[in-house]
Symmetry: C2
């Protein structure tokens, strides 16, 4: 039986604006230093230290120490899933960006970005749609790779054994309001795209752009050719 106190403890970890900001920042799937997170959240370093301790003690974050730096990242994919699920409930509040810089940053995110370890934004949705159109992904009764889809992934040299993680899973996109592919399959695809240089990160954030090579590859591989 789930104890109410455990649930409350877990929720309490995210019930603070500073900690929430830190977790959302870490949703980009990379490791941040304590100082970076402190600046990002707008609190003193000492305060950040305490928050990071609570989050790691609570099992949401994993830490790695390198010299005088303390790197933290989300503990595992299930934490990212939890954050996504909670964010999905909030999607309608779409805070309008003010100012030109915020607007272009937001436009870049809407075009394409990583969502922990898979692709999201219009790019993520386009890939998902293409997979479905080609009969590799089945959305009719859930979100699952078809027989053909499993063969296709294998043909690309992408392995799908990911322990207890679901192979294919829907993740709701807060810009597109449509589901895109997550789970092990989504993560492998994203890895591949980045490794081959088909998509590249913009600056240090979550936003990504499709490279010229990527345009060719996407058209070639999945018949996607309208990506902006």
């Amino acid at each position: 039986m789930t104890a109410p106190s455990s649930l409350a403890q877990l929720a309490a970890l995210l019930a603070d604006e500073t900690r929430a900001a830190m977790c959302l920042a870490l949703l980009d799937g990379r490791a941040w230093t304590a100082g970076e997170l402190a600046r990002h959240a707008g609190v003193a370093r000492s305060t950040a230290t305490e928050h990071l301790h609570r989050l790691t003690a609570g099992g949401l974050l994993a830490e790695e120490r390198q010299g005088r730096h303390r790197y933290v990242r989300l503990a595992d994919a299930s934490v990212a899933t939890l954050l996504e699920d909670m964010s999905a409930r909030l999607a309608p509040d779409a805070t309008r960006p003010t100012g030109l810089r915020a607007a272009t940053a937001s436009a870049a995110l809407a075009r394409g970005r990583t969502c922990y370890d898979h692709l999201a934004g219009r790019l993520g949705v386009a890939v998902t749609d293409a997979l479905t159109a080609r009969g590799l992904l089945d959305q009719s009764g859930g979100f699952a790779l078809t027989e053909a889809g499993l063969r296709w992934m294998a043909g690309q040299g992408l392995r799908l054994d990911g322990g207890k993680r679901p192979v294919a899973r829907a993740c709701l996109d807060w810009t597109e309001r449509r589901p895109h592919l997550a789970g092990v399959a989504g993560a492998r695809l994203c890895e591949r795209f980045l490794a081959r240089g088909w998509v590249a990160r913009i600056g240090s954030g979550r936003a990504v752009r499709v490279t010229p090579d990527g345009r060719v590859a996407l058209a070639d591989l999945l018949g996607i050719d309208g990506v902006d």
Copy 2:
């Protein structure tokens, strides 16, 4: 962009032990009165009132007033999903029941219960396994009804149009540690089983038992015959 403050506000709703207890109680999918929840959570009625206000204002609960009673229930299936997902992270803490009454109650829950609007426990897992064995449900690349599965549901007169809700979805069972069928399909099956009297609720809780009629029907329909 998801605002950290919104996420924190949502989490704060569940970050209180009393509110958490209320939400978990409501996971049985039924409507409770404010007084019942107050007693269940062990707080004064006035305190319960305040908590219920916060939960409804936050969109987690929906209320219906009947005479001098105030009935509340989870606002929608997505709230139940969120609670399940969070509980799944906590599963390992399996609090051992102490005392005979607690033990028999817990055994009944492990045998079969409702999980918001679908079946869980050994019963839920058995149904899920049977559907999979018969080629109606595909777990290989996610959780999805097969073509045959969609036809079978239609043949049973079960409609699957559920708005934006996924048709089939995995829900992790905290007693069995295995996924069972949730989503629209899971809900329709559970409805049907209850409506036909194949399973019946035990007392006022979430536990259910298979009736003699149910035993016959389950064997007949899905080849399940080991249910205890």
